[in-house]
Symmetry: C2
Subunit: 195 residues, 2 copies
Amino acid sequence: MNNYKPLIDYINKYITLTSEEINLLEEHTTYRKYLKGQYIVQQGDVCRYESFIVKGCLKTFYMDKDGLEHVVLFGIENWWAADLGSFLTQTPADYNVQCLEHTEVIQFSFDSLELLYQKIPKLERFFRLIIQRAFVTSEKRIIRNFSLSAKERYIEFKNLYPQIEQRVPQYLIASYLGITKEFLSKVRSEIIKEQ
Amino acid sequence: MNNYKPLIDYINKYITLTSEEINLLEEHTTYRKYLKGQYIVQQGDVCRYESFIVKGCLKTFYMDKDGLEHVVLFGIENWWAADLGSFLTQTPADYNVQCLEHTEVIQFSFDSLELLYQKIPKLERFFRLIIQRAFVTSEKRIIRNFSLSAKERYIEFKNLYPQIEQRVPQYLIASYLGITKEFLSKVRSEIIKEQ
């Protein structure tokens, strides 16, 4: 299926799949389209899938007891979306994953993924490598929160994720950076003046 | 080697190693003792090893440009210590890992680990599973920072890691929780009064 090309290309950067293995992968996953605003995961529900993003943009966020949204992560093409803790233990999710654009994903259910690990053991390596990357990204972000000012964090965000900066509303970026949208707007005009 | 029993028991919870594989593992890793105060990883150096903690207690921390220490993580028996980003890319570390007690570890170098993945492919599964756990732990901590007060975070920390709470000085716990040691002391006396 042509729809699967982005996923296969992505996996083949880490391991090499035979055409038989590609068929297995297509057979045991689901291609799914979501509308802008729809939820892939809802806080309190069990996260049923690990989703590879073929097309679109989404946010992972936590809503606190006062109804305040905290953006944890964005996701665009070639990223993954899930509440991994919930997915792995099949218990209620801490996070929401909501589409900011029309989004197309390829979904691995828990059982399918376990079956795929058995049928294609080198997928263990693939998922080890990408989870390592995710973990390192999360550690680097902790460091930036210690070591950089809000302005520096915004500049870093723009440099690391120029595509996301253009596709996502500013108030969500402010939430991701842990600052108010007024403060982000002040920071942005400072940067413009300096240029 | 009897020294290796904790590591082998730990690995065997996830996969099953043959005695030949255990020999390979011992052959391609190093058993190392550190004194209290010594560093396993220093910020700015390349992190050469993933270290499994057989005995002891350590802290992972970042020192900011003003010389302030930010504790990211503690480690005790059966945990792992490394700056994973540095280890995986063999580039300078963001973090320090320093022993709070006399500590004994089993160390995997980058090259040895790659070789072990080739010789014992099921180690891919083992490391995938433990890195997933580490990633989920890190995500759950982000959630707690959004959703819990400092007092609630301290109570949660005590419940999750009773052993660490007893072995580690309070000012380091305060740093881990992102609060001052004066505030932690206030929180602790509140909790004692409530009991």
